[in-house]
């Protein structure tokens, strides 16, 4: 069991209904992909936010990572849709 700080932005944040939370993760959650699958078991708001996994972007400790990235040691994991700044 490990503890991680999660932050959400844009419509991921709106659909989950919060901007951040701290969660305890079961031992089988090793990568971002595992994290997404785990979150979707937590309720329909997570299912709605993360339904299309392929468009969800992730950052660990404020750097972009892909879904295969291990999350061990992460202080902060962010989940958000494709960016539209500029």
């Amino acid at each position: 069991m490990s503890t991680v700080n999660l932050v959400y932005f844009s419509w991921v944040r709106e659909r989950i209904g919060k901007g951040e939370e701290t969660l305890d993760l079961p031992a089988g959650v090793v990568t971002i992909a595992d994290l997404l699958r785990h979150l979707k078991t937590l309720g329909e708001e997570y299912e709605a936010a993360l339904e299309h996994e392929n468009v969800i972007r992730a950052a660990i400790n404020q750097e972009h990572v892909d879904h295969k990235e291990p999350i061990a040691g992460a202080r902060e994991i962010a989940l958000f849709p494709p960016m539209t700044g500029g």
């Binding site: 932005f9 844009s10 750097e63 972009h64 962010a78 958000f80 494709p82 960016m83 539209t84 700044g85």
Partner: protein, 155 residues
Amino acid sequence: MNAPVTVRVQRDDFDLNSEVAKLSAGRADIGAVVTFSGLCRDEAGTLAALELEHYPGMAEAEIERICREAIERFSLEAATAIHRYGKIMPGENIVLVVTASRHRQAAFDGANFIMDFLKTSAPFWKKEHLGDGTTGGWVSAKDADDTARDRWTTK
């Protein structure tokens, strides 16, 4: 690699003159300064404002990474990038990029490169607020922006 980089994420508007002056004042080795200002458009006349959300900390860090890559790649003398957040009305500024170099093409390419990567990699999201009081929803990412970014790696 000692070329100065300035990155700011702020609610307030920026001032072109002062940003260019900060970059080039007192230097005789700069022959070219390019600025790019990105503005909030509303051709249809239906938009009240864009609301810019960002990831504090990562937004600054990611833009700085992009600027440093541009400096190395194009041998820039300096680079500045400022991105606004919060509600921005049609006609107002959203983003400023300034690049300085000895010769003109590097400054053009550097600013162009920074904008392409900023669009696709800097953690900002735009939500539309319409003139009738409703929300137009979150702006979708454009394939054209990915294509613009990818041309820098397919050369």
